[in-house]
Symmetry: C2
Subunit: 289 residues, 2 copies
């Protein structure tokens, strides 16, 4: 099975278990809408690649880590699209969850997906109890307070926003959770993998700011021009389009350089390079080629 198929199968298994015959059908449908909507699965691929590079001796636990990180990412998108945040009617070219199912089910689907992420870790962790606590702690750090993606989003509600901490939390933290949890799932030392997550998270944030600033809604699959409209800190506002594009390239190079020496290093470099080509807005990538 390819890694991509393995991720979809693992997500499907966790959702099926959570539905279990008597879940409210529209809630279950809202969760499916959020999870199976054509996402690139960048974070779970990264997680599994690191797990493999660290020996990959526990496939179910690595899958659970990958699923948890992806479910938490999808949950954050559902909540970020709500009217009180981005008020986005579309996501990946389809109606956002609150447009398709209403605001109450969008809030609840996000909540359910957060719980489901931890439930997946618990299920796989029962067979590897010594790894469960550090795995949970690693994932929690990427999502919650003080510096996870929830905190990152919350910086937008503060009178003063420290830009670097905002970006680190809003995007970087979950990439760091992806790399480090992959290592923990395989019984490896997670710390050498922090930097790769940070650099890729940084690259992804620049790419997202570029996409918002210079792409149309069709390419982005969601409303664009939101950073300027909502006066959010953006690296395009700070560096200009050319400057941001140069920063993106530098961050991808730094990400490649941050991959620790290991058996899987070549696969990881290939994955980072492949993701990098997907990151840049298409017409910018063409004009820079």
């Amino acid at each position: 099975m390819t890694v991509a198929l393995r991720i979809e199968a693992a997500l499907e298994a966790v959702l099926t278990r959570a539905e279990d015959g008597h879940a409210p059908p529209r809630l279950a449908a809202a969760v499916r809408h959020a999870v199976f909507s054509g996402g690139a699965r960048i974070r779970p691929q990264l997680c599994l690649a690191v797990a493999k590079a660290c020996g990959g001796d526990n496939i179910p636990l690595a899958d659970a880590a990958a699923v948890a990180v992806e479910l938490l990412h999808c949950a954050s998108l559902v909540h970020d699209d709500l009217p009180c945040f981005d008020d986005a009617a579309t996501r990946r070219g389809k109606p956002s969850v609150h447009m398709a199912f209403g605001e109450p089910l969008a809030v609840l689907a996000g909540d359910a997906m957060i719980v489901m992420a931890f439930g997946a870790l618990a299920q796989a962790g029962a067979q590897a109890p010594a790894r469960l606590a550090p795995l949970l702690t690693t994932v929690c750090r990427g999502v919650g307070m003080p510096g996870g993606i929830v905190a990152g989003q919350a910086w937008e509600s503060e009178p003063f926003t420290p830009v670097e901490l905002y970006h680190q939390s809003k995007t970087g933290a979950l990439f760091v959770a992806a790399t480090m949890s992959g290592a923990v799932a395989s019984g490896g030392d997670p710390h050498p993998w922090r930097r790769l997550g940070e650099k890729l998270g940084g690259a992804y944030q620049v790419a997202d700011d570029l996409l918002d600033a210079v792409s149309g809604e069709v390419e982005a699959g969601k409303p664009t021009g939101r950073d300027a409209a909502l006066q959010r800190p953006s690296l395009v506002a700070e560096l200009g389009v050319k400057g941001a594009y140069a920063r993106l390239g530098a961050l991808v190079e730094e990400a490649v350089a941050a991959i620790p020496d290991c058996d899987g290093a070549k696969d990881l470099r290939d994955l980072v390079a492949m993701q990098a080509t997907r990151l840049a807005p298409k017409h910018l990538a063409r004009s820079a080629a």
Copy 2:
């Protein structure tokens, strides 16, 4: 230290750790507003009483279970008060979180509290790895899909609502998580404790429906008359006020009878009796006395 003080101290420790110097200050304040707002702490008291009845050999893990259940309860209140659900301006006689901090921070505070609950379990579970997976699974079952409180709330968005499953999920599930997680934290068998949670959860649901139907906003500390206004299934609508009051009494008796034979049985009976007197709306309790 009394149990009540122990719960407050454990909550304070978890919040302090989550703030850790660089959390967004308004998010941290919103979480504090939600957690320290005069809640009765019924669920964590129940959890700790069961943990003690099962031997109480791991105080930090029992505290973490109690804290997790209470944080998840508080998170559910914050999200349930949002304009798209109850649209409640007050909670426990104070402004609800979205009234005090705005809707974005109310969504994010709820999310952060869910993650914090699992983080607390991870932290204490590191010293008792064999209990961590079952503890997580027990707590997840009380909160997520298919039958936890998130699913319970989601039944309100379905065209057809199975009333018993709705009440079981919306209220009962977290009481069951409270009793069963207390047992798991002490290395006990959780299954004999399910029924106590179910019966107390049922009693609490009837009490809440009564409070909504017959009390004023001052006694309830939140807007009342919402079940009728929102056409939600309510036991008062089904049984009338007198019938609901009789059901409340029966459920409390059944809860007492459901307490398994154990060293702590007397303490638990006292706790249930004490909670029962708090449950009934005050003027009804007086007229029935």
